[in-house]
Structure formats: C-alpha cells, structure tokens
Symmetry: C2
Subunit: 216 residues, 2 copies
Amino acid sequence: MRALVLFVCLSAGCLAQRPQQCTSPPLLTGSMSLSTANEKLQVFAKYSYDALGKRIRLREIGIYGNKTFIIDWLLLYRQGVVYKINSRNRTCIKKPLSVDFHPLEVPKNATLLAQVVLGSSSGPGQGVLVNTWAGEKQMKIGKAKYMSTVTEFGCIPVSSLLHTDKTGWMVTSFFNNVIGLLDPQQLLPPPFCRGARLETEDGEDPVDFYSLFSEM
Amino acid sequence: MRALVLFVCLSAGCLAQRPQQCTSPPLLTGSMSLSTANEKLQVFAKYSYDALGKRIRLREIGIYGNKTFIIDWLLLYRQGVVYKINSRNRTCIKKPLSVDFHPLEVPKNATLLAQVVLGSSSGPGQGVLVNTWAGEKQMKIGKAKYMSTVTEFGCIPVSSLLHTDKTGWMVTSFFNNVIGLLDPQQLLPPPFCRGARLETEDGEDPVDFYSLFSEM
C-alpha cells in the first residue's frame, strides 16, 4: 500500500514538472511594445494591470501608417467604461466598454510548443527559463492564432505573437515588468475626468490595442 | 592628490556602470531561429561556435517559399572552406569560404538603445537583464541596419533584427545557449568528408545564413 502511495506521489511529482498553463500575477506594472509584420503599426506603451479590480491603464505612443499618436487609456471593466485621457489639455472622453475583462493567462486549451532558456543557463543572471504556448481563440476582431511566451517562474508575460486575417502577424514584447502596482493612482480617473459624459458613438481608434492586451 | 585619484576612480567606476559594447564567450553551443518579415524564410538551427578556432557548425532545418530544406554546414574560416554535409547519404560538398570570421560581438560603433528586463525583476528566475544596441554596418549582401540584444551578464546573444534592402527585416532569436562546446567533434569534418574535392562553382543556397550568423 505504502509503495503504491509512494508511486502515485512520485508520478504526480513528475507530472507536476511539466509546464502548466498559468495565470500571471494579479498586479503588474511594466512596459510593452507592439508591432505588426507589415510595419504599419508600432506602439510603445507603459501599463498598469490590476486583475483584482479589473482595471488597466495604458499610456501609448505609436506610429500608425505615417502618423504618430499618443493615447492614454484607462479601462474600468467593472464599471464598463473606458476613459481616453488627455493630460496636457486636461480633457477626457468617456466611452462604454463592452468587452469582458480577461486576466493575463495562458488559455487552458493551449498547447506547449517549447520550453527554452532565453540567454544562457551557464551563469547567474545570464538567462531566463520560458515556456511558449500556442493555440487558437475567438477575438472581437475575428479568429486568431496565438503564440504566448511566459516565464516558467512567476508566469510573467515575455512576448506574444498573434495572427488574424484582418491584421496579419503582430508581435508584442513585455519588459521591465514588476509584480505589484508602482502607482495605484494610475488606475483612478484623474480629477478632470469627473465631469466627462458617456459618449456612445464610435470613434476612430488606430487599433483595438487594449483588447489585444486583455486577450494576450 | 589623493582626492583627485579618488575622484578619477569614482568617475571610472560610474562610467563602468554604463553598458559596454561586449564580445560573447568564445565557445558557445545553442539553438537559434530566423524568420523574415515577409514570412518567406523560416529557419531553426542548432549551432556550435568556436571563436578561438574560428569554426562554426550550423545544422539547419527550414522553409523557404513553400519548400522545406535541411542543411548542415561546417564553416572552417582558418582553412577558408565550408563543408555542406549530408549525414544520411554520407556525402560532402566542400566549397571555398571567402568571408572573414567575425566573432559574436556588439560592434564598437553601436549605440545603446535600451537596457530592459525581459520578464520581471521581482523574483528569482523571473527575468534577465538585457541591452539592446543599434547601428549600421556593411555586409556581403549590402548595407544593413541592425538591432542586437545581448544579456548584461555574460554578453550572451538573445535576439537580433537585421534589415537590408534585399531581404527586408529578419529576426533571429538565440536560445538554450550554454557556454562551452557540448560536442567538440561537431567542429571537425566527419570521416566521409575526407575525400571531398573543392568545388568552386556557386551553388544555390536558400540564403546566406551563415554570413548572417557570423555578422550578428
């Protein structure tokens, strides 16, 4: 009987060694860059992410076509609103946010492509062990193929490849991530947004970037 | 006088904190993948790299257009020859190698673009500190813009972006690198190559991949 228990425990231990689909820490602050294979869109963004309060702040600077743009989003999924903030002019556009909040995670039906070391495992600080997962999912902009890379320890997002017929391949890189909120105030609407009325007509956004983020 | 010496030492110390253009370890074994932005070429390769003996072994499997290919190169820069090895058929093609050996390094005239953490610095094993360098250089296939990312500790190659008018953007990722030669024999011509005669006519190679490698 004991041998059987030992055998089961050992088997479970071995199975546990295999990378598991994981959920990223609920509070994260960091940076990300996104570019499309056709070189049309290039975005650099600083983000604050709060999966507990279902809130995301994204301060983007980018190029779409030949135009540069700066956009500052505050996404409050619980309230179902998104603020487009212009801190310089102290103006605010408030819009309904119809999509659901998705935590940063590797989907349960994702397939493990590979576990590799970025850099080297030959010395301390020379590399990081990551898992790359692949699969397909339904997004607002259509059916998408994805490849997500997260760290083995901590399930920190590293990069993500996404393909839809509409956009082609898009590469997102996450970096300078820290666990926790560097500035929780980033996730509150600024005082000058208090009087903003809900606008229901659809504006022209360069891309549905925040849905990309939430659907990593 | 002492104060001056102290001041100079401290200044030097501070300057030393800034990332320096570096040379990768002379012996490396690992894997790499290369793809072009136009999705025409995708290559996965295992490599052995010996900067002391100026030798590289590259075992590639890839897709060019719609054709898959397997190529096994042994580059001996000191002898000025390259072997194209077919281990299954035990055949060998020996060709002259006219390019110089370039060690894996960040060129002296490269500009530091950014120092970032891939993954996170919040916990052990969650990330790696890397430096990204950019510049221009003259390659065999023309003038190229490049962006190279190496680890801060160890100067291990992580990724490289290269743009020439001929090829467009190409992304190379290095992974599972270890310092040292896993199998030094990989850098010797196999016994069945002994009788190979030097062929001087130019064959049709999918891409000048080994020159890309040596000119990271």
